[in-house]
């Protein structure tokens, strides 16, 4: 269900103006709220919050620690200074309030921040006291769809008009010819009478040479297409299956620039790149429980709610309760659909290519960072492998294994740089055993 996003200028303008109005009103509100929280600067506070607090706290949702919006209203400021600088000490001292907070939050001790000054804490509190930012309404899928529809109509209209014009032209020519003929006969001009010739197909059938040549052509063309058809059997290029969880490589590898090998870590040392186990996802998704989007990027194909629901699927699979922030122990392993399937008789080792040769993942897997839905980019045929082995030079720099053999072989072949093929990368037994 692919939908092409195509905004008309009106909706864009509308959104822009709405966003402008909102941001203006926000800043004015923030200015109003600032004195209420003390002398803190929310902008500075945000920066401090992101570096120190964001690992465990969110503004509006419970993470490892409680949600912090409006925390300044709940507690005494002096008490908060003490708590933030060293909560353990405060609890130890027997402060009733402190013990209550500690117990209410699952007795997870908070890291002490003695390096924060009172002023810093004021800034943080200013930030946490800021009212909820109204999210700019993202264009929904429905809006995109209408836009697409409108675009389609206008194109059809142009085509229709062109067709009408052409028909009219043809009709006019026909009329003109008719009229000219009538004028000619009226003027007594004798038109040359056409000789009754053989129909073209009969003439063609009579010319045996032509028949021969054209049938050979037909056979050759037919064979070309049959060969083409047969050769693509078993080649699953552009295979793009629907996965049990809609995992967007575009969001992860593209927008958030997560390194491929952070998740596919075994590609460095193993023949398998490995589908990351769910605990790897949870490294980040413990704290990212809903899709926020990125202001610079537009997510037009799927809604925020859609993505958040997909994150929930991950939680169901790994058995994570996002409300209590704890594992339930009920797991449901994800059955991904494998996209890149090499036949059993071909041996391929990722680490040879990734670690030893330093080949970029994208060389074979294509621009994964732009793929909303993962697909097989390359044909994965033997010809494709062999071509690359013929063209690619072996990366020998700093690898003591290659030092001797590369020297000797390059001398033998009279080249500066050896290709993988010259190194023996075309031998059958290197991949088939």
């Amino acid at each position: 269900m692919k939908k092409v996003g195509n905004h008309n200028s009106f909706s864009k303008k509308l959104i822009f103006s709405l966003a402008m109005v909102l941001s203006l009103s926000l800043s004015s509100l923030a200015q109003d709220a600032a004195p209420a929280a003390g002398a803190g600067d929310p902008a500075k506070g945000k920066a401090i919050f992101n570096t120190n607090c964001a690992a465990c706290h969110k503004l509006d949702a419970k993470a490892t620690g409680p949600a912090l919006r409006g925390v300044a209203d709940k507690y005494d400021k002096e008490w908060l200074y003490k708590w933030i600088k060293n909560s353990a000490e405060l609890i130890k001292s027997g402060d009733a309030e402190a013990i209550k907070v500690f117990e209410a939050n699952g007795k997870v001790p908070m890291t002490a921040f003695p390096q924060l000054s009172n002023e810093d804490i004021d800034n943080i509190l200013a930030y946490t006291s800021a009212p909820i930012e109204q999210p700019a309404p993202t264009p929904t899928a429905a809006a995109g769809a209408t836009a697409a529809q409108e675009g389609g109509v206008s194109n059809n209209l142009i085509l229709g008009v062109l067709a009408v014009v052409l028909t009219m032209l043809i009709a006019m020519l026909f009329f003109v010819k008719n009229i000219l003929g009538k004028i000619a006969s009226a003027n007594g001009v004798a038109l040359p009478v056409k000789e009754k010739s053989l129909p073209i197909w009969k003439a063609f059938a009579k010319n045996q040479f032509l028949v021969l040549v054209s049938s050979i052509m037909m056979i050759l063309i037919g064979m070309y297409f049959i060969y083409g058809y047969l050769m693509q059997i078993g080649v699953d290029q552009n295979y793009e299956p629907i996965q049990p969880i809609h995992y967007s490589h575009k969001i992860h590898a593209g927008d958030n620039k997560i390194e491929c090998k952070y998740c596919h870590s075994s590609a460095r040392v193993s023949k398998n790149a490995g589908i990351p186990s769910l605990n790897v996802c949870m490294n980040c998704h413990k704290n990212i429980s809903e899709f926020q989007g990125d202001k610079d990027s537009t997510y037009v194909e799927y809604s925020k709610e859609f993505y958040t629901a997909e994150i929930q699927k991950l939680y169901d699979a790994v058995g994570w309760d996002k409300n209590t922030m704890s594992y339930t122990g009920k797991v449901k392993p994800v059955k991904w659909v494998r996209i890149h399937n090499l036949p059993d008789f071909a041996y391929f080792n990722h680490s040879q290519h990734v670690t030893v040769a330093g080949v970029e993942c994208q060389t074979c897997h294509g621009p994964v960072e732009t793929m909303e839905v993962m697909r097989q980019h390359s044909p994965l045929t033997m010809g494709w492998c062999v071509n690359c082995h013929r063209e690619t030079n072996v990366k020998v720099e700093g690898n003591a294994y290659y030092a001797k053999i590369h020297d000797e072989l390059s001398k033998k072949y009279g080249v500066d740089k050896l290709t993988a093929a010259q190194m023996g990368g075309l031998e059958c037994g290197k991949c088939h055993y």
Binding site: S266, K271, G274, I275, A400, A403, H432
Partner: protein, 1017 residues
């Protein structure tokens, strides 16, 4: 002639007016055919609008749709871990050090696991891990994935839970305590210090309990003798590397004698170094592996062996004991004794005679020699079984005095000769519990069958010899609802700790000066042992008693264990069943071995039938009233006249796949657990069909296949004389074959160039490499009838050759002196028969990876080609199965897949069930029907070694390259490596003057080379 007879179909027809006749005439069927009833709902059927034509259309359409849909690739699912264990990376193998101990075999091993499942057994190469894996240990990983294992506890044949088992055992123990009934723990030898402590606890808690140790194949007499002299129930250990003269009287020192595992030390002394090698004299009845490797083999009956032992005793110690004369072998035995005496501390004598007096003399002789190879201090603890105690137990059970019987690792219903008595006694035992891997003969009869985990799923410890402590650790979570015997013991004694914690405490107390983690990591811990001197025993009486031994008439039966099957615990293991015996080369069977003379006397014969299969007569063997019927015969060259041999471990029926229920149960003849019996053999009707992989017995004087020489010639003469380079004619001039070439040779001096060196002196023919190759390369098991048709799939075979004269040298002389056509024919025909006491030679043969390979030039589709690294590569997906390559291979090492051997119920071995396929190596293809396969020189292993070095950015060190066979070879016969690495071991071996290539004269330039066998005659 036409006939007017009228045939009456029934009496009714006589009556012209019968209505029945009328009805029958008009209607073929009297009653209406119940079509509607048959088709089901008649109402719906009539209401349906689908006509027959429509139906056919639907069928046609759906068939077309299905075949169109089949063009689509299948959807493959991948399921990653939810939480991936840190140490597991998919695609990367992990190795765990552990110890194999099943009461018969023991070894310090590494277990290779992939994605958490054990797939291969490797040797632990730490310097103090000295017990290598034999063929059975290598195969034991497949026994883990045996689908016939006992999967959950059973009480009286019904599925039960462990709680039920514990409850009923606790009840029974309490009852025994109250009534004063006897509680007996009957176990195999576990040699486990932690288990010993648990058993001691158990006995302390249950005062009426006792522990009986029972070995299926007993060393009871040797243990008794050792106990008399050294006061401890153990066996002396031997290091044959330290011996110059080895005299063995009936001991298969390269087989399972006293636990086995002696080949590594033995082989060290067998490779000529500085003109010296050990001399091995074997006096025996059956042709054993040790006899086949001996420099001098003296075939004697058991009675004669006893006399020979007394004679050696009297010569070595000088005490006169009055041994009888041994006829034509007397001189040879005397000479052996003299050589032994002359060697002094460098000599050693061992014996496998199942007689306390004989075993006492062994100790006396070695003490008199003060033999360096004989080591009673670091005694072996892996055999503890007491035949007398077992006999007493059976008597007690029959008397009804045993209340509760708890068994672990034993199968007395199968392994006891008097299993009938045992069964009768078992009926009188109130509660009998057996911890067993499978529902075997005993588990079926016992009241409680408790599933035990495989050793790869268990924790444990083994004190193999004194001062050699080894740890067993699990390499996979238990596959079934199993519990270790130790855990159960702890539960029954009210010990709430886990066995792991208990083991950790025991292990840490034994292995002092190391940490528990290091102990588990290494799998082995050694410490110094205090030397023991031992007391004196009445050796003189022992000698004089032994000298009185007389032939009691009839043939002397020597029961032995086969290299493949051992005591029969792993009889359901297809790798071991298909493993060809090193001596007879027969698989899937046991058989009685008889000498040619006895065979002729009894009218027994072996012959080959049209398809090449070997057939043999059937016999009945009778020992002291017990008859064993339909025992097939193999005529064994070298079998002492007047003796027969029969292997234990076959003929199991319970808890076994039908295909594996082969052979006869020789334990029936193992009366009182004595391996030497007197038997009567009678021929019975019928012929047995063997699955024998080698039909050619002799070399026919072709000395260039196995080159051999004597130590004397080797030391004194030039290599050109004993390692003759074959000559061919070039321009009508004799030219060494190595210098003539049809092809231009490629330059192989750059990069790796793999060579495999096989030293025929060190190779004992043990076959560990054969099973290791099976495990590494997913070699299929094809079954008995296919092996019989010579369709076995072993990539590596160990050829065994007999000489037709006394020695192979004399064969060569005989062949060369044959003149004229008739004389040549008669001579050569005669040479097909091995001599009565032949010399034997083993030769492992796998693909020779010829640089000028005949197979490569004939492949029409270029499926087999040569790599720069010296490997002859085989692309299975390219092969179309013309089999030209196999026909053109001079070494006959190529194997053709006549059938699909995986997921095919016609071949119901491990590759046909989901559990059995777990053992497959994911880095190697499983070949399909119609393709050729062969040894790849473990290209997956060499490639992964190279890749590892590349990843780490370093050069490859010598010894890093291995193949499955070279890694499994504990005797050091097989060495693999890069011949371009001039400092490497293989490069040096290739330059050795003993080096030669197989069939050098045909100019294939193989990458496998052999070393001339030197005999110390």
């Amino acid at each position: 002639m036409a006939s007017n007879k009228k045939y009456w179909k029934s009496v009714e027809e006589l009556d012209q007016n019968s209505s029945i006749v009328e009805t029958l005439r008009n209607n073929e069927f009297v009653e209406e055919i119940p079509t509607d009833e048959f088709l089901g709902d008649a109402a719906t059927l009539s209401a349906t609008s689908t006509t027959r034509r429509d139906f056919l259309k639907y069928v046609g359409f759906s068939t077309a749709a299905a075949s169109l849909a089949a063009c689509e690739g299948p959807v493959v699912k991948s399921i990653p871990y939810v939480v991936q264990p840190e140490e597991i990376i998919p695609g990367v193998a992990d190795y765990y050090a552990t110890t194999m101990m099943d009461g018969f075999d023991f070894a310090n091993i590494l277990v290779k696991t992939r994605e958490g499942r054990p797939i291969k057994v490797e040797n632990n190469n730490l310097p103090n891990a000295k017990f290598g894996a034999n063929a059975r240990v290598h195969a034991s990983v497949l026994s883990l994935y045996d689908s016939m294992r006992l999967k959950q506890p059973k009480i009286s044949g019904k599925d039960a839970s462990w709680a039920d088992v514990n409850a009923s055992v606790a009840k029974s123990l309490a009852e025994a305590k109250a009534k004063g009934g006897q509680v007996v723990l009957l176990t195999n030898t576990m040699a486990s210090p932690s288990t010993d402590r648990l058993i001691a606890d158990f006995i302390a808690k249950n005062p009426t309990a006792k522990h009986v140790v029972y070995d299926a194949v007993s060393s009871s007499t040797a243990l008794d003798a050792f106990q008399m002299v050294y006061g401890e129930r153990a066996l002396a250990d031997y290091d044959f590397a330290k011996a110059d003269v080895i005299v063995s009287v009936g001991a298969d020192i390269l087989g399972d004698w006293q636990g086995g595992g002696y080949d590594a030390g033995y082989s060290k002394g067998r490779v000529p170094k500085n003109g010296k090698m050990s001399k091995h004299i074997q006096i025996e009845a059956n042709m054993s592996l040790a006899g086949a490797n001996a420099d001098k083999r003296i075939p004697l009956t058991v009675t004669e062996q006893k006399q020979a032992l007394v004679k050696i005793y009297s010569i070595v110690t000088g005490a006169s004991a009055g041994a009888a004369n041994l006829g034509k072998y007397d001189e040879a035995v005397t000479k052996a004794a003299q050589q032994l005496k002359a060697a002094g501390g460098k000599g050693v004598l061992v014996s496998g005679l199942d007689d306390v007096n004989a075993q006492l003399l062994v100790l006396a002789i070695n003490k008199a020699l003060s033999s360096e190879a004989f080591n009673p201090s670091a005694a072996r603890l892996i055999r503890k079984g007491d035949s007398k105690a077992v006999a007493q137990l059976v008597a007690d059970m029959k008397a009804g005095s045993v209340h509760t019987l708890i068994m672990n690792g034993v199968n007395p219903m199968y392994t006891l000769a008097n299993s009938y008595d045992f069964a009768e006694g078992l009926k009188k035992v109130k509660t009998s519990v057996v911890f067993s891997l499978r529902e075997d003969e005993t588990a079926v009869k016992a009241t409680i069958a408790a599933p035990a985990p495989h050793y790869l799923e268990s924790w444990g410890d083994v004190m193999i010899t004194k001062g050699h402590y080894a740890i067993m650790q699990p390499t996979i979570r238990p596959l079934f609802d199993t519990k270790q015997f130790q855990e159960a013991l702890m539960a029954w004694t009210g010990n709430t700790a886990s066995y792991y914690d208990f083991l950790k405490a025991v292990g840490s107390s034994i292995a002092t000066g190391t940490t528990w983690n290091k102990l588990v990591h290494d799998g082995v811990y050694t410490s110094e042992v205090a030397p023991v001197t031992g007391g004196a025993a009445d050796f003189a009486t022992a000698a004089s008693t032994l000298a009185k031994a007389k032939n009691e008439g009839g043939l002397e039966l020597v029961l032995y264990t086969k290299t493949g099957m051992g005591d029969g615990q792993q009889a359901n293991n297809p790798w071991l069943q298909e493993f060809p015996d090193p001596i007879t080369r027969a698989s899937w069977d046991n058989y009685v071995t008889v000498s040619k003379k006895d065979a002729e006397r009894l009218g027994l014969e072996n012959f080959n039938v049209a398809n090449g299969g070997l057939n043999g007569s059937y016999t009945t063997i009778e020992v002291a009233g017990t008859k064993l019927e339909n025992v097939p015969v193999i005529i064994q060259p070298g079998q002492a006249v007047g003796t027969i041999g029969l292997a234990l471990g076959y003929g199991r029926k319970e808890g076994m796949k039908e295909e594996m229920q082969v052979g006869v149960n020789a334990y029936k003849l193992y009366a009182n657990q004595v391996a030497n019996q007197v038997a009567k053999v009678t021929k019975t009707a019928g012929d047995h069909e063997f699955a024998c992989v080698q039909l050619q017995k002799t070399l026919m004087g072709r000395g260039d296949i196995i080159k051999e020489t004597t130590l004397e010639i080797f030391n004194t003469k030039d290599a050109a004389e004993w390692n003759i380079v074959p000559m061919v004619s070039l321009d009508h001039k004799a030219t060494p074959a190595t210098e003539v070439d049809l092809w231009d040779s490629f330059d192989r001096s750059i990069g790796h160039h793999f060579n495999l060196s096989i030293d025929l002196n060190a190779c004992t023919g043990c076959g560990a490499c054969v099973i290791a190759c099976h495990a590494e390369n997913n070699v299929p098991v094809v079954g008995k009838s296919e092996v019989r048709r010579s369709r076995d799939m072993h990539w590596l075979r160990i050829d065994r050759y007999y000489s037709s004269e006394e020695t192979f040298d004399k064969d060569v002389v005989l062949k060369n002196t044959a003149k004229g056509l008739t004389n040549s024919i008669t001579t050569l025909t005669g040479m097909e028969d091995p001599s009565e006491n032949p010399q034997v030679a083993f030769q492992p043969v796998m693909c020779q990876h010829c640089n000028h390979a005949p197979c490569e030039t004939v492949c029409p589709v270029a499926a087999t080609s040569h790599g720069r690294q010296g490997q002859n590569q085989m692309a299975y997906n390219r092969c179309v199965g013309t089999r030209y390559c196999a026909n053109n291979c001079p070494y006959k090492v190529r194997r053709f897949n006549w059938f699909l051997y995986s997921k095919n119920s016609e071949f119901d071995y491990h590759m046909n069930d989901d559990l059995g396929r777990m053992v497959l190596n994911p880095d190697v293809n499983v070949r399909s029907r119609g393709v050729m396969e062969k040894c790849s020189m473990c290209i997956q292993m060499t490639q992964s070694t190279i890749l590892k070095a590349k990843r780490e950015g370093r050069e490859i060190k010598d010894g890093e390259f291995q193949t499955a066979c070279s890694a499994a070879c504990t005797s050091g016969a097989m060495v693999f490596g890069d011949v371009n690495d001039k400092e490497g071991q293989v490069a040096k071996l290739a330059e050795d003057e003993r080096m030669y290539h197989l069939l050098e004269h045909i100019g294939t330039k193989p990458n496998v080379f052999y070393h001339v066998k030197v005999r110390n005659t």
